[in-house]
Symmetry: C2
Subunit: 453 residues, 2 copies
């Protein structure tokens, strides 16, 4: 009955794809989630619609790269006929009683780097903190040295190795930051490789310029090191990055001992004028005015927030009711990996009406995990999110954290046909089977991009 | 150069397998690890032996189901020639610069059950404890009801689904407990299914009888419920399980509010006489004399120990220097999933010379993870183990926790040829890439059982 689909394609001659046999279709229809709506996943439940396999069961219809209908099978089929899209031109993907969700979106990764830092785990076990390791010339600076020495080809090989795995975790779009170059040439190399890997596909990649990730070694010995490096960002790196035209965003590490709020404001405002939308690493280790700055500059996302202050929460809550809500992108795997008891106050943020996203923070120093479903589990266990809240956080809200809320993150008419079939009968089980491989099929832009063996 | 190997086989006509191209061979040679030796993984490092691809680089030779040589390539080849095992009868498996370890061993799983309990996460978020959920008739009793209603076929389907995934995490042997029947018929069904799944392979399964997992509902309303149920274990279940002949071990849940140390002693002593070696769930939630009892009865393993007392530690430390050391099998994913701050005092146990193993505790209520490498990561982050200590804990020490220390868990002459090729250049990176899929090839009894796509 259902045609066999091959990875990378639809059945021969098929121009569309009908995803049938889902126990639940998690639509995430209706835009950004905040407050109580964070828990509304917009689920179409086959059991409540007549039962699996009936004419009332929910299906998803894709045509080309787009979703053209979502709903009960009979209604979708009528609509397709009316639109002049004959059913025989659709291939079939049988979800086999599993759950269908939008493709997951990872809104915070440091995809590209060279070298590994597993030895820092033992330093932290012995009591050293992130900033201590950094001050001793370790931490991120070790990654910077290795990354500067790495060719574009080497970085691309590394990127492909991890993108191949990231896809198997159900992720169809990621953000990827530079920030391990800290000089123009290497930052441009990182951004170019990220851009080219996105062009290769199937995962879409949004490059972010993160020159203000740390003060690089050649500036650290100077008495005016931090200010001099900020000037080099403003005068040399930002114009160069803008001329290259690959970076969609500009990010800064706003943190005590790294860059102050005033330095970050200057960088983000200059980047914004050059067409790079602002986003921030904010209040990860200590309250540093990062969340307040995010609201002030209209950032799409404020990330980490494990140490957000009351004023920071108030600023994001005010932004949430305005025209430019700032998504709070929480990264709980980082707290876990840093052996910190300090997690972002997720429930309070939800109570204050602030929309939450979740990301992996994939990076070699503080979160070497490519596994976004695992991060959802940690979000439920450590941030006390419900499964539906965690799902919103890695789909529609993560899309908004990338300025793509009208394009991806939900299964709605006209959206990009990115979706995942999961081998569980209820969406609530996705974060429950901690660290399990539940992804059965990934569809990207209407085509099968991954199938579980 | 290297023959292509197919899953389930060796190359046509090959009777042996040479595993070459490893950056490190983690041998775990030399028996049970305790104290400082927990961190000695017995690593043969190609870089220190002349370099990858040289005649001095370490290789592993398997013949039939056994390991016949481990060491520098030239020495191994000479030995094989001398033994009359000509090299042309060996297939080649190229580790591609990755790490080779013994097949991982999961010494504590509740593999077989029906139903799921994801809703308990929200109860715990709201503050309910394990014993509260149990006292309200939820928790394990929900799983017991679903499991009693499940046919052997249904349980076997469930088991195969998870065993298929467990293999991809590099696990080649597991223990599997009954304990969701709590009546003779269902306990026998669970043990029989576990046994048959092990016979199907490729993963070896050691069935454990765990009738004393909880007091079942039909006994709970009786004033003498617990004692009456213990009598039914002693008089009905144990003789029935012994007659069936599938259970290798007898386990008990020695815990405040579940079974007391005296009840557990009676059960374990009776089981021992019937040929089932004792092991215990001990001191998981409160100190209950479980560790002391483990030492007293000469258990192969005392499991959980998140709430072990000073006396319990002293008892295990004394046993560790005697003829029957008790392996402390820690289950940190359970603490994580229960949102507990209470982890077993792993460093203190190591300091006291007690050998540690790690297990998933795979079960639907308190640890729904099939991912033993993820448990290693949690062991490093929450128990403060080093990567080498965590590796010992899931190989040689886990083998001893199953009474199989002379058979599996190390890459030594005569041991079963169970091994894993990992896609990382150093063993220390296995727990570092948290939640990543690093397993490239799994060899079970000398044959390729899994290859990463």
């Amino acid at each position: 009955m259902s045609l066999r689909l091959i990875p990378g394609g639809r059945p021969r001659d098929a121009e569309g794809l009908l995803v049938t046999g889902a126990s639940e279709v998690v639509t995430m229809a209706g835009g950004l989630r905040a407050g109580a709506r964070q828990a509304d996943a917009g689920i179409l439940d086959a059991a409540a619609m007549g039962g699996l396999g009936t004419a009332g069961a929910p299906i998803v219809a894709c045509w080309g790269e787009r979703i053209v209908a979502v709903g009960p099978r009979d209604a979708v089929e009528q609509r397709l006929e009316a639109e002049g899209l004959p059913l025989e031109r659709f291939g079939r993907l049988d979800a086999g009683g599993g759950v269908v969700t939008p493709g997951l979106i990872d809104p915070h990764t440091h995809l590209l780097f060279a070298g590994t830092r597993e030895h820092e785990v033992s330093l932290r076990q012995a009591g050293a903190g992130y900033l201590e390791i950094l001050a001793a010339g370790g931490g991120i600076l070790a990654t910077v040295a290795a990354t500067r020495a790495a060719s574009a080809e080497k970085l691309a090989r590394h990127g492909r190795r991890w993108l191949d795995e990231i896809l198997t975790h159900g992720v169809t779009t990621i953000e990827a930051k530079s920030g391990y170059g800290l000089d123009l040439a290497t930052e441009l190399r990182l951004l170019e490789v990220a851009f080219q890997l996105g062009r290769e596909g199937p995962i879409d990649i949004l490059p972010t310029y993160l020159g203000a990730h740390a003060v690089p070694p050649e500036f650290r010995s100077r008495p005016d090191g931090s200010e001099a490096y900020v000037r080099s960002i403003l005068e040399e790196q930002l114009p160069g990055v803008a001329a290259q035209g690959r970076a969609r965003f500009c990010d800064v590490f706003c943190e005590e001992g790294v860059f102050g709020a005033d330095e970050c404001r200057r960088i983000l405002e200059a980047a914004d004028k050059l067409g790079m939308a602002p986003r921030l690493h904010a209040d990860e280790l200590a309250p540093s005015g990062g969340a307040e700055l995010a609201a002030e500059v209209g950032a799409v996302s404020a990330d980490h927030l494990a140490a957000i202050s009351d004023q920071g929460i108030a600023a994001l809550a005010a932004a949430a009711t305005g025209e430019r809500p700032v998504v709070a992108t929480l990264l709980p795997a980082t707290s876990l990996f840093l052996m910190s008891d300090h997690y972002a106050p997720a429930r309070r943020l939800i109570d204050e009406g602030i929309p939450l996203a979740l990301g992996t923070d994939f990076n070699p120093g503080t979160s070497p995990t490519p596994n976004l479903p695992l991060v959802m589990a940690v979000g439920c266990l450590e941030l006390k999110l419900s499964p539906a809240e965690a799902l919103s956080a890695v789909t529609i809200n993560a899309a908004h954290a990338l300025g793509l809320g009208d394009e991806i993150g939900s299964l709605e008419l006209g959206r990009q046909a990115d979706l995942v079939v999961w081998g569980v009968p209820e969406a609530a089980q996705i974060p429950y089977w901690m660290g399990a491989d539940l992804v059965r099929t990934v569809v990207k832009r209407g085509r099968i991009a991954f199938e579980h063996a």
